[in-house]
Symmetry: C2
């Protein structure tokens, strides 16, 4: 499998998992958080699929296409840990859907970051909410859900926050 | 359609067109040229699909994953126009397959670059060779071929060099 094949597979898995997550929270009110805005493609996809929901995006800096940058009130710039902790004051227990695409080229560092931010994300999540992401993460309230058909285990992850 | 949808469609179109081009030159000997190495994903794909063929990659500078960089003898760094013109001495009339992914965010500039390099690519192509690319290009010897099923016209292009 070439890097092109592998890249396409990853994007298809990402989209399928996000779409599944969006449908799983259809009946649950609450905002969406995008942890890792990056180039803004998944932010745009979430915006397209979730209609009128508020979406708050976290990143270290803005590297997204200008059309895919949220307004200032929905853009939380800085270290993920600091900004997620800070967001607890306004979003704690309210978030219906979290998408966390935080992987870099360094697998060990990406997993370590996932482990660090999982409890901070958990503090923002509403009971019954869905967390979808590219790194293995863990929280006492989270139950791992099966992936959409055709996606290799470990390529992406979906969790439901227990009620 | 979100930017994620659109990006996935473009990559799928790119892969399908490259695969079609590779199969079209199966019986034609000659090297491959990759005009625009970029991140190296399509170079890796061409390498994976074309087996033992020589692949020469052109780009302004190396921005590819280290595993997707050709050796020095197959890497032609500099302005596309200058380097394609220079390559005519060794590759003129010999190339079986050219993949040219040269688009930037600026559509007008990308199309102008395509128009400029088309005759330079043409000079390298063997009769019966295939040119596949992301910009509309034109040369007297080139005949545009239909795209693989499901690809929107204008998203990618395939030409056969008349014999």
């Amino acid at each position: 499998m070439s890097r092109l094949d592998s890249f396409i597979r990853r994007l298809e898995a990402q989209r399928a998992c996000i779409n599944r997550a969006v449908s799983l929270v259809a009946a649950l009110p609450g905002p969406v958080i995008e942890v890792g805005l990056g180039n803004g493609r998944t932010f745009d996809h979430l915006r397209d699929r979730t209609g009128n929901r508020e979406i708050f995006a976290f990143d270290r800096q803005v590297a997204a296409h200008p059309a895919c940058v949220p307004d200032e009130a929905h853009l939380l710039l800085g270290d993920f840990r600091a900004m997620l902790a800070k967001a607890a004051a306004s979003l704690g227990g309210k978030v219906a859907l979290c998408h966390a695409d935080i992987g870099s080229g360094d697998e060990a560092a990406s997993q370590a970051l996932g482990a660090e931010i999982a409890p901070l994300i958990d503090a923002l999540m509403a009971p019954g909410g869905i967390v979808v992401g590219d790194q293995p993460m863990r929280a006492a309230r989270w139950e791992e859900l099966p992936l959409p058909a055709g996606i290799e285990p470990g390529r992406y992850f979906i969790w439901r926050v227990r009620i």
